[in-house]
Structure formats: C-alpha cells, structure tokens
Symmetry: C2
Subunit: 262 residues, 2 copies
DNA sequence: CGTCGCCTTGATGAACATCAAGGAAAGTGG
DNA sequence: CCACTTTCCTTGATGTTCATCAAGGCGACG
C-alpha cells in the first residue's frame, strides 16, 4: 500500500565514488554520509541531496563559526581541524563545554531551542561542511533511513555528554587530566592517526578551563606526568610514554566507558 | 505521487479524549503525546498506536527500572515519582548522572549503543510508561511529524546535559547546591506544583554524589543556608525563604541558562 | 631589541575531604 | 509496648588538595 522509497543505494553507486579522497576519514562518521555530494564531481547537480555544502573559507584560529544567541541555520560537521564550544555567562566568564574534532557534528543540542546556546570557536585552521537544517528536515522526510541515522548520532551525543560528566566527576584533578589525555589519544586513533604521539590543538589555558582547574595546576600536573615518565611533552606535542601508567592514573579500566570520553 | 499520511488528528478526535485525567500534566512533555492511548478507554485496541503502554506495577523506592548493561528494549517516560540515573564504575563506586522527574524520558542516550550505559533506580514510588523502541521506529515511519518531535526532545536532552555541565563547572560547592535547589524548584513549578515549597525525593547522600562533594559538606551547606535565612528545611521538605538570595548564592541571573538545569 | 602571549615554578591560604563521634527517626523482633 | 539495630543526618577536628598571588622564563613577532 505504500509507495516504495526512492532507491538510494542505486543512485549512490552511479553518482558517488566512495574512493574519492575528500570523502575519506572525516566523512566516515558524518551524519549525512551517503547523502553527501561534497567533494565529488556531481556537487553542482541539484538532486536528492544538496543539503550539505562545504564551507568555502576555512576558519582561522580564534575565529567564530557561530556565536551564542545566533539563530540555528545550519548544523556543521568538521572536515579538518578542531573547534571548542564555549558558553559565556552573564558575568563575563567563559566555560568550555566541549572540544570537537574532525567527523564530529556541531549544533545538535540547539535544535529544540532554534538558536545556538553556546559559541563555536576554531582552535586551529579548520574546515567544515555546513548543512541547512531546513533542508535536512526535507531530506529526512524523503529518506526515513536518514532519520534513523541522525537519531543514532544525536543519541550518541547524549551518551557522550554523560560520559564526559563521568570524567569531570573524578575528584582529583590528576585523574581528570589523565582521562582527558587518554581521550584525546583515543580520538586521534579513531581518526586514523597515531594514538601515542599527537599535537594538542588547544592551549593549556583551554585545558584548564575545560577541566575546571587553574591554569597553574595543569602546568604542574603536566610536568609531574613527565617526571613520572608517563608523558613526553614539548609545548603542544605529546607522546605517551607509559600508556598503562596513564590508565592507572586515570583510574579507569582499559575498555571502560571513560576510555572514550569526547 | 506520495501516499497521503494517515490523518492522525481525525483518529484522535474520535478515539482519544484530551480531557482524560490520566493524560494531564505528566503527559504534556511526553515524547509520544498525541500518539498515546494509555489511560484512555481504547487502550486495548491495537491500532496505529500501541507502542506506548503503562508499566503495570509501580516501582518501589530503590527498585531498578533497568540495569547498566541491559539491552535497550524500551524508552520510558515518568508518569509520577522520580528516578536517579547512575553509573557504576569498575572499582565499585557509583556516580549519579541525573535525576529524572515526571514527564521526562529515560534511555535516549542509549539508542546508539543499543544497551543501557547506566542504571535507573526509583527514588520513591514511581510509575512509568514504557515504549518499545522497535515499535517507535515503525510509528515514526508512519508519522514523520513524530520524528520531528522526537528529534526536538532528544536535542533538548543534549542541551540539558550541557547545561548541567555548566552547573557542575561552578567551582564553589555553595554555588552548585544553590543552583541545584533552584533547579529543583523550577522543575516542580514546571509540573504545576509550588516552586517555593516541595519535598526533595533524594537523600542528602544522593545530592552529595550528584554534586561531587562529600555528604558532610552538603549537610553543612544546608544548615548554613538555613542560618542565612535562605531556606527552611525539615528533613526532605524544603521551603525557599529567600529566592533572590538563593539566586545570588548560585551566581546566576534570573532567566539565564542555569536557571533551568535538569 | 623590546613586547606580548603563553607557560612554568614557588609560596601562601582557603575550600573541602576525611576521620570520628553522636543524634534522630524508622524499621525489626520480641 | 519496648529494646534493638539500622539508616540517615549532623557537627566537630584535622589534613590535603588546589586556587590564588607573584615572579620569571621562553619563544614569537614586529
């Protein structure tokens, strides 16, 4: 009794080349994934996709993707680089709520209210795809499978937020920092990079703000971790020297929930 | 070219009586809302609804609705009572992630993984509606508007989680407790109760756990708030004596984001 | 070279955890 | 009904973690 859904996969097989370099790792976890035509030869064609476009200009360090209070026009997915999500309270203080890295989506928490409840600022040169939310809704009506996928992603975001809570709930700041570093490592690993040697995109100050400790405390802890031969850090480049030791400091079991926070 | 959507409102007008007492305040924010037939005379009829049913037996204090690790079968909406969401870490400690009160949904963060990442325990005698997730998906395919509604709710949950983070990010435990109490007040108000006199459903121990402070600290702060004429507390019954004073202690502006945390 | 931003290190003090003891209310069994 | 335990909460004394204040190092950049 129902009309058949448009045959999505067939379209893809003719129009979208999975081998396309630009579609690779950053897109694996993207919410539009199979519907996306950015970076493939058919970008210009207006068809069943068209919701997703690459933001033409990359953001520079410190630049805002959107401001707290802006109305929600787009959702964003990070192609490369990283972004901090921050909340400005009325008495002028800033609180970093999240760090987003490539493949992650921004704005999902602002759908209900229709406006951005916090700001997004690039930590480094960052390129994003943007996705008109109105068009996304239309697209979803056409392809209910996309709805399911979106659902899964948004649900995952809740899970992620709650897991982050667990990290912050660790009372010792030492535990929190260790968990944070392990989480960063896990994220780099997820993106196909080395998990035991990477560059932190954020400043010490940002880390301190995010972990709710004083800047000086982060500094001290980092030197302590180095003294204890857990890490080797030169400015923002990190090498994990003793993974198990870090796990122990973090007080977490290898494959527990906290092993992947952000 | 597309089949018409089933005319939902028509069905409702004949089958569902909005005046039904059992459908009142607890259901206002429920995710199924208009699709729900619990508590109306047609409950037994298998029709386009049927995803949502009332859990026959109410939970008693301390009873588990589900356990961490259980596979996700249902989403739940609280009809009356309250529930704490808690995470058990491998070294045996418990961390309360959330308190849920009537009208709120449980399990949304567990959709992606397909299993409950934390447990849900009743704080008092609690009645819930349960909602088979598989059926919900089917229902959504039939009524895309339901999808949009669900989406909004899940997005709101992210927003809510992030706002909770802001509360926890307040460094002084005094601020956190004040924010917590104001939040409880706001929730009672939302449910149609008095906002300046209510009963806390959770123990001091639970509050302490949730706010990441020692039990003794909560005790001391409460007596301090009473001494300062901000509150009058007898066991679990709270009366807010000085609302503005509490706001000031919490360090928040009347209608700011933190005014409604949970 | 000087200035600025970012980070580090040291000294001090405050907030809060921990340890310890006891009170009040509620349940339990006689 | 009364002892009895148990749970939950309160209050006090002490110690530790971490914020704050202060100073200086170091690379980047003009």
């Amino acid at each position: 009794m129902r009309l058949e859904q448009p045959k999505l996969k067939k379209h893809i097989s003719t129009r979208y080349q999975p081998g396309d370099a630009k579609q690779s790792s950053a897109c694996r976890s993207c919410l539009l994934k199979v519907h996306c035509q950015t970076g493939n030869p058919y970008t210009g064609v207006s068809g069943y996709t068209g919701g997703m476009t690459i933001q033409p200009r990359a953001l520079q360090r410190g630049e805002y993707l959107y401001h707290q209070g802006d109305s929600l026009q787009y959702l964003y997915v990070i192609r490369s680089g990283s972004i901090k999500q921050l909340f400005n309270s009325w008495h002028g203080t800033e609180q970093i709520i999240n760090f987003y890295m490539r493949g992650q989506s921004l704005g999902l928490g602002d759908i209900q209210s229709g406006s951005h409840g916090s700001s997004a600022v690039a930590l480094e040169t960052t390129s994003v795809c943007k996705l008109n939310y109105g068009k996304l809704q239309t697209l979803c009506k056409q392809y209910p499978d996309l709805y399911d996928r979106l659902f899964s992603i948004v649900s995952g975001e809740i899970y992620h937020e709650q897991t982050k809570m667990l990290m912050h709930g660790q009372k010792q700041s030492e535990e929190r920092l260790a968990t944070f570093i392990l989480d960063m490592a896990a994220r780099y690993k997820n993106n196909g990079y080395s998990f035991n040697a990477f560059n932190l995109p954020m400043s010490r100050h940002d880390i301190a703000n995010f972990l709710w400790v004083a800047d000086e405390t982060i500094s001290r802890l980092i030197t302590k971790f180095c003294d204890d031969k857990l890490l080797e850090i030169d400015k923002r480049s990190v090498r994990i020297a003793d993974y198990d030791g870090l796990l122990q400091k973090a007080g977490i079991q290898p494959r527990s929930r906290l092993a992947y926070v952000n």
